[in-house]
Amino acid sequence: MGCWRLMYTVFRRDMTYRFDWFAGMFSTFLTAWIAILLWQILVHRAHYDEIEGHRLLSYIAMASLFRSLFSGTIQDYVQSEILTGRVAIDLLKPIHYPTLLVFHSLGEATSKILQIIPVFFSLLLFTPLTWPSSLLHGIFAVSSLFLGMLVYILLDIAIGLTAFWTTDLTGTRMMKQAIFFLFSGVFVPLWYFPKPLLFIANILPFKAMIYVPAYVYSSQNRPSTDTLWLQLFWIMVLWIAVISLWNRAQNKLVIYGG
C-alpha cells in the first residue's frame, strides 16, 4: 500500500512542472524523428524492398521512442540521499529500501509513459511507423517493454547502491550510458552487428531493455516467449544482485550531515 502511495507521489511530483513535461515530450519526438530521418536516407539509398524498409523504420522509431523511458534519475537520488544523510529518513520508513527504490522509479516511469503515448500516435501519423502486424505482437511488445524497464530499473538501483562505497557515481553512470547506447540496440539494430560485437551484446543485459521490445513490435514472425524468459532471467539476476548489495551496504552506512 505504502509503495503505491510513494509511486503516485513521485508521479505527481514529475507532473507538477508542466512546462518541463511538455518539453520532455517534444524532445522524445525529436529524438525519434532524427533517427527516422537518418535511417530513411540509408534505406532509400540501399534500395531495400518496401516491407524490409518499413520493418527497419518501425524498429528504429520504436527503439528511439522507448529510449526516453530509460533515463531515470534513481542513481542521482540514491547518491544525493547518501551525501546529504537523508537516507536515514528512508531507512526509518517501514518499507524495504530496494523495494522503495523500485516503486520510486516506477513512479518516474509512469509520467514518462504518459509522455510517449501522444508521441507514439504522432509518429504513426507523420512517419513511416506502422502498427504491429497483429494484436498479439502489440501485447507481446508492451509486456516486453515493461519487463525491459524493470531490467533497467534494477540495474540502475544496483549501480546506485554502489554509492554506499564510492559516494560518487558520475563515472559509473556515464560508463553505463555509454555501453547502453551501443549494446541496447537503440542506435543501430543488433542484426547489423559483426559477430564479436554481437556476442558481447548477447551476454549483456542491455539487449533486454530496448532491442527486445522494439524487435518484437516490428517483426513479422510469430512472437515467441523466449525473449520474455530472457528478460525474466535478467530481472531475477539483478534483483539478487540488488538484495545482496543492500545487505552489505547496511553495514557500510555512514550518515553524513544532519
Binding site: 525529436l30 556515464m174 550510458q177 547489423y192
Partner: protein, 267 residues
C-alpha cells in the same frame, strides 16, 4: 574586471579541490567518455560497413564530425556542466545567496563548478580528430592547426551560449532539465550526422536559429571537400564570430532573466 577574474579563479581552485576528492570517479568518467565516443563511432562503423556511406560521407569524415563535436562540447562542459542541474539549484533557493554577494551573479554561476571529468572529452576528442585527419590525408600544418583551434574555441562558445540560455529559463520555470536537454542535447544529436541529410527547414534552424552546424559541419569543409556545402562557402570560416555573438546574446538573456527571478525554496 580583474578582481572578478581572480575571484573566479579562486572559486575554480576550490572546485578542483572538491572534485579532486573523487579521484576514482574522475578516472572512470574519463574512461566512460572514451567508451561513449567509441560507442558512437562503432555505431557509425557498423552502419557504414553495411550501407557504404552516409550521403556521400565516409567513415573518417563522419568521425571527424563526431570528434569536433565532442571536443567542443567537452571544452564547454568543463565550465558549464552544472547548467544541467541548474533548475534544481533554483528551485531549492540556493542561488539566492549569489544575489547578496558583492560580485555579479553570473560570475558565481560560472564558478559554481569545474567539471574535471569532462577533460575526458578532450582526450578522446583529440585522438579521434588526429586519427581521422591523418586517414583523410590532411597535413597538420600551422595554418590547419590554428584554424582547427579557432573553430574549436568558437564551437565551445556556441555550445556554452546554449547552456547559459537553457539555464536562464530556470528563472522562469524553476525546473528546466527537460528543456535543457531539448535545447542542447536533442538538437546536438543532429550534428553527429552531416546536416545535409536533413530536410531544408532543419538545415535552416541549425544554421540561423540554433547555429550548431557551425560547430562541426561547416568548418569540416575546410579540411575535405564534399559536394554538399550548404548556403554559402563563407560559412566555413564563421564559427568563432558566431560563437562570440551567441555568447554575448546568452549573457544578456541570462541577466534579463535574473531580473525576473522572484525567489523560491525554503532552505
Amino acid at each position: 574586471m580583474k578582481r572578478w577574474f581572480s575571484i573566479y579563479l579562486q572559486l575554480t581552485r576550490a572546485n578542483i579541490k572538491r572534485r579532486g576528492q573523487y579521484r576514482g570517479s574522475i578516472i572512470l568518467s574519463i574512461l566512460a567518455l572514451a567508451i561513449l565516443e567509441s560507442s558512437i563511432l562503432f555505431g557509425f562503423f557498423i552502419i557504414i560497413r553495411h550501407f557504404q556511406d552516409i550521403n556521400g560521407w565516409n567513415f573518417y569524415q563522419i568521425s571527424f564530425l563526431v570528434g569536433l563535436n565532442h571536443f567542443a562540447q567537452g571544452l564547454s562542459m568543463i565550465f558549464m556542466a552544472h547548467s544541467r542541474g541548474f533548475g534544481r539549484l533554483v528551485s531549492l533557493g540556493q542561488i539566492d545567496r549569489w544575489l547578496i554577494r558583492p560580485i555579479p551573479p553570473f560570475i558565481s554561476f560560472l564558478g559554481h563548478d569545474f567539471a574535471l571529468p569532462c577533460f575526458g572529452d578532450l582526450v578522446s576528442g583529440s585522438v579521434i580528430l588526429t586519427y581521422s585527419l591523418a586517414k583523410l590525408g590532411v597535413v597538420l600544418s600551422l595554418k590547419n592547426v590554428s584554424f582547427l583551434i579557432a573553430t574549436i574555441l568558437g564551437g565551445a562558445l556556441i555550445q556554452s551560449a546554449f547552456f547559459v540560455i537553457a539555464s536562464a529559463t530556470s528563472f522562469y520555470t524553476e525546473k528546466s532539465s527537460n528543456f535543457t536537454s531539448l535545447l542542447v542535447w536533442n538538437t546536438k544529436e543532429f550534428i553527429n550526422y552531416p546536416i545535409s541529410i536533413f530536410p531544408s527547414y532543419i538545415q535552416i534552424v541549425l544554421t540561423f536559429i540554433i547555429p550548431f552546424a557551425f560547430i562541426n559541419f561547416y568548418p569540416a569543409h575546410y579540411f575535405f571537400k564534399t559536394q554538399d556545402i550548404l548556403f554559402h562557402p563563407v560559412f566555413i570560416y564563421l564559427t568563432p564570430l558566431i560563437g562570440i555573438i551567441a555568447m554575448g546574446f546568452a549573457i544578456l538573456f541570462w541577466q534579463r532573466s535574473l531580473q525576473k527571478y522572484q525567489g523560491s525554496g525554503n532552505s
